[in-house]
Amino acid sequence: MDSSVLFSMRLSLQVAAVATAFIFVIGIAVAYFLARKDFKGKELLDVLFTLPLVLPPTVTGYYLIVLFGRNGTVGKIIYQWTGWTIMFTWYAAVLASFVVALPLMIKTARAAIESVDVTLINASYTLGRTEFETAVRIILPLARRGIIAGTVLSFARAMGEFGATLMLAGNLPGKTDTMPLAIYSLSGSGEWSKANGMVIMLTLLSGFFLYLANRYSKRPIY
């Protein structure tokens, strides 16, 4: 196989894996707070986290540049301190994938956590267990199907991320060209045979992940 195609495949997997690792931790934490806590502005926060699901990825990418670009609100501070900017690195692809795929995790995990029987949680409290112990030993294990489904969906979405990645990481061959970006370049220059392999691979992988996600979210646990 062509080395540039191999590079894109490896980069895509790497970006999606790292983004999903962050999504797993942060997504569960956010989903837990949205599901179990009542606070002012809770639904607003949910909307904010969900927006990237419906916004054009270019708009999400635009916001990310405004925030993390070299002259962005946060990016400027990072650049002043370290002389480094996330723009046009593979970390930018991770950030873009993270933000775009996170809502899938939050939505799925929140629903799963909300569906855990409240009496089980109350029982845990009357048995002297703290909220953290209850979350780790009762709530999350019982919500695990939704969490797994959310993780798989997020990974699939991260693999397929294009628009925000293009805005933030650019389309630098051998540096930030993940599979979707490489396919865009290859079809632009008419190199169909190279693109074909990646198109098929993305289709099969995404189909497989959707199948996994369905399987995990549907089958009853006990």
């Binding site: 109350n122 029982a123 002297g128 267990r129 703290t130």
Partner: protein, 242 residues
């Protein structure tokens, strides 16, 4: 020990306003469904916050709206058996029981699990998930889990209501055994008239969020304080059942 409870709580149209005390005994909260018995139990355990009131267990103040004391459920030493038992479906019998043993040393925990599973005839099913147990076994696991921490009081929210008759009789005997073994005060919520009559040292009759009579079962059944209580404890209706 003893338990002293004064509670006020408004939930939508329903208002609860009760005050009662119990000694080291088995007190039955008796009344129709929706009379406020279950939420009383939840407020005693700290799972729901009263609008006003005091909950004392012996000398220990668990809740006092005036002094702004409100211990979380974890800090109140109650064994709670829920109506649906609330066994953790993903944990084995052994894990369910041990889950209640927070802060107990491993040696002591092993000893208590052995005692409880022996006394409650659960040795053979220790590695099973709750879904694989009979109704009676599930009940006994719920009791074992609630008792392993040696709570000050046992709170029972209609634990036998879902059982069929023979098993319900068995579980009533079981509860009597539990009381003999553990010598622990019990609050039992029920709307079953026979359960109330046969189990109670003291009956606290609820109606519409109020306590309408308290006393020894024979007293309440033979001398109902009002028409309302009379209707509630009317055993003649039972006799006409086929």
């Amino acid at each position: 020990m003893g338990l002293s409870v004064t509670l006020k709580k408004k939930i939508n149209e329903f208002s609860l306003d009760v005050a009662w005390e119990m000694a080291d005994e088995l007190a039955v909260l008796f009344g129709y469904s929706g009379a406020g018995k279950s939420i009383t139990l939840q407020m005693i355990a700290g799972l729901m916050q009263p609008d006003a009131g005091v909950v004392r267990c012996g000398e220990k103040v668990l809740f006092d709206s005036f002094k702004e004391v409100n211990l979380p459920p974890q800090k109140r030493s109650f064994g709670y058996v829920f109506q649906n038992l609330a066994l953790f479906p993903h944990l084995t019998v052994d894990e369910n029981i041990r889950y209640g043993a927070r802060g107990i040393s491993p040696d002591e925990c092993r000893k208590r699990v052995a005692e409880l599973t022996g006394a409650f005839r659960l040795e053979g099913v220790i590695d099973r998930l709750p879904g694989k147990l009979s109704g009676g076994q599930q009940q006994r696991v719920a009791f074992a889990r609630a008792l392993i921490r040696k709570p000050d009081v046992l709170l029972l929210d209609e634990p036998f209501s879902a059982l069929d008759n023979p098993l319900r009789l068995e579980m009533r005997q079981f509860l009597k055994d539990v009381r003999n073994i553990f010598n622990i005060p019990v609050v039992l919520v029920t709307h079953d008239i026979i359960e109330a009559y046969t189990m109670a040292d003291n009956i606290i009759v609820y109606s519409n969020g109020r306590v309408v009579q308290t006393g020894h079962p024979s007293e309440v059944f033979n001398h109902p304080a009002s028409k309302e209580v009379e209707a509630l404890v009317d055993t003649s209706k039972l006799m006409t059942l086929p």
